[in-house]
Point group: C2
Chain length 384, copies 2
């Protein structure tokens, strides 16, 4: 089965040959190609190979001269590193790829996985929260995750210290999924190395969309968080301050159509501030695992074994900008931004562009790790 | 202006003469006449005097022979005790009577008041909660009540120890209203005697619908609580366990169409259980006085001075049982109940009556203090 068998009028199948996999990985690892762009290119050009061939022209249209896609040697090295780490590539469209995640417009084209991919067919709940959690918060995370595991749910989290680690630890028996911000073979933080081993030993899974061996940096975390919430049918925030990453994760989860839930705390306890804001804004209040399960949709049908045809990528909105227009706007935004934070309003004024067009472009750039949204919503360029 | 000037086709005016007041008080203090029955009689017979004349026949129809209304001497003694205590009678329809309270179908026909009735024309918020509050809960109550007072709201509460006392204490400057379960001249609990004096000294008010000198007993509290929530446009529960009186107050407040709000707490802190249930069921989450004020309807127009015509009592539902039928059902319920608690389901089975008919009758009897609903919803007769 070769790339040439497909055109833009047919939905692409996941790669089935080594050549296909190399092309997918090359396209994904090419500069300026994030997941959203990956799927746009696939929709426009039908296959990864053809998208790679079209890329230099697409870049030129966006004002980038002399663009060349990611060299084959780079991805062959990544694939070798994966084999050495015992990591398996799971592509969107593969039977093992989490169904809920596949439905996102910015679904990762592929994930590296270490462990038992079987857990991915079970119903999943994300349990996330503060790194500097209180002992009350840790107790709550353990209690919720343990009860969710006992009820047949797989707990998904980010292997961070605090709430994440407590949730994974209590859900080991049922198999738990840790989505890493850096490479799947890079355990971070180091203090969770043993937990990380136990997750794999106990039929759980570690996942990442990042290249092997990549050390996680700040811009990886929000991108990673969309996978945590994207895999799960619901996201439970256990303890989070008012201006915290968990809050951004929860808001993104809402955008993804996920059920967002939060554990309340006393208003005079700052560590509950974010959770209380979420509840105030409509998140369901969680007192126990029963409260969580009650909110979740019925578990989906287990997916069949082996490759299933890729569904057509979600329809872009009717007024969707073309890739060239989007690339041009992206470049304008990147030109305006620097390491010093600027407000979104200011940026929109500077660009003289419609807020309606700038906001999704900013989201793309945030997801691609080019732009960072700082506390208070200020925007800054991520140094490359 | 005499009772004879009115018939059932005209809404009754509040009493303006001493004779009127004596008749109102006699009717209200007559056996088996609670507020709901009072207004039904007034609607059927036009005046308190005519209602008093009709009462023996109404009782006979309900199977009670030899019924006689409250003797005049009893109410004259009550009025004398009120004068000695410096208490003023505020009747429904008087300019000073709280407007929101007047709209309830079981609005108290009259209230005894000690202090400055002017506060009753300001927008009011009820702040209630546990007697055995935590120090965090007390801090929260003080902070909310102080900020509400500073924002021009009058804080209404029940002068109980714990949250109530903390709320009154922090809201003294703006004038605060304490609604007592027993007589307005009976300060309970004794430890709040000084606070009670300060409330009156600082242009606040103590209120009660009960006869003067009556010591509060268990059955008085739920009846009193409907006044606290009925006067206010919103009810804030600061700290309350899962099975607490504050929860019943909040549910009744919802039935009254009041905005119900609650301060969350950690699920592992039992004292937050009731508040978390309320929020889970749709009460607004409160972190600060701003959260409360945001939920409240705009303050009503200040009422005019002096007597205003009583509005027609709220229309009874179309399928409303007649007074005689209701009295008969009330008697059947009272006959079935004893001091040992019985479940509502059991009672309905025993009566062979429709749950639809029994539930409102039980509410009437609870409000009249004949039946007590115990933790878990079990029902028992209140010894007389």
């Amino acid at each position: 089965m070769r790339d040439e068998d497909y055109s833009s009028t047919h939905p692409p199948l996941p790669p089935t040959t080594e050549d296909d996999r190399v092309a997918w990985l090359r396209l994904l690892r090419s500069r300026r190609v994030g997941p959203t762009t990956f799927w746009k290119l696939m929709a426009d050009h039908g296959t990864a190979q053809r998208s790679l061939e079209a890329l230099p022209e697409v870049a030129r249209a966006a004002g980038v001269e002399g663009y060349s896609p990611c060299p084959e040697g780079v991805v062959l090295a990544e694939m070798k590193a994966a084999r050495m780490a015992g990591a398996r590539m799971i592509c969107r469209g593969d039977g093992a790829y989490p169904r809920a995640l596949a439905a996102l417009p910015d679904a990762p084209p592929l994930l590296w996985a270490i462990g038992s991919a079987e857990v991915l067919s079970k119903p999943m709940v994300a349990v996330v929260g503060a790194r500097n959690a209180s002992s009350l918060g840790l107790r709550m995370a353990r209690s919720l995750a343990g009860d969710l595991g006992a009820a047949g749910y797989v707990v998904v989290s980010g292997l961070a210290r605090g709430i994440d680690a407590a949730a994974h630890g209590a859900a080991l028996e049922g198999g738990t999924v840790a989505v890493l911000a850096g490479g799947v073979d890079v355990v971070y933080p180091a203090e969770n190395a043993r937990l990380s081993d136990e997750i794999v030993a106990k039929d759980g899974l570690r996942l990442s969309e990042q290249p092997m061996r990549i050390q996680p940096v700040a811009r990886h975390f929000p991108v990673r968080n969309r996978i945590i919430s994207g895999m799960a049918s619901g996201v439970v925030v256990v303890e989070a301050a008012a201006k915290s990453g968990s809050l951004i994760t929860a808001r993104n989860a809402l955008d993804q159509g996920r059920e967002v839930m939060a554990v309340p705390g006393h208003p005079l306890d700052g560590r509950a501030g974010g959770c209380n804001i979420l509840i105030r804004d409509g998140a369901k209040l969680v007192r126990s695992a029963e409260d969580i399960i009650e909110q979740l949709p019925p578990p989906p049908e287990p997916p069949g074994q082996g490759a299933v045809p890729l569904e057509v990528p979600p329809e872009p909105p009717k007024d969707r900008r073309t890739l060239q227009q989007a690339a041009a706007l992206h470049q304008q935004i990147l030109d305006r931004l620097g390491p010093s934070p600027v407000s979104e309003d200011q940026l929109i004024r500077d660009l003289g562009a419609a807020a309606k067009a700038v906001s999704p472009a900013l989201t793309d750039l945030e997801l691609e790790g080019r732009v960072q949204r700082q506390p208070g919503g200020m925007l800054a360029l991520v140094p490359r």
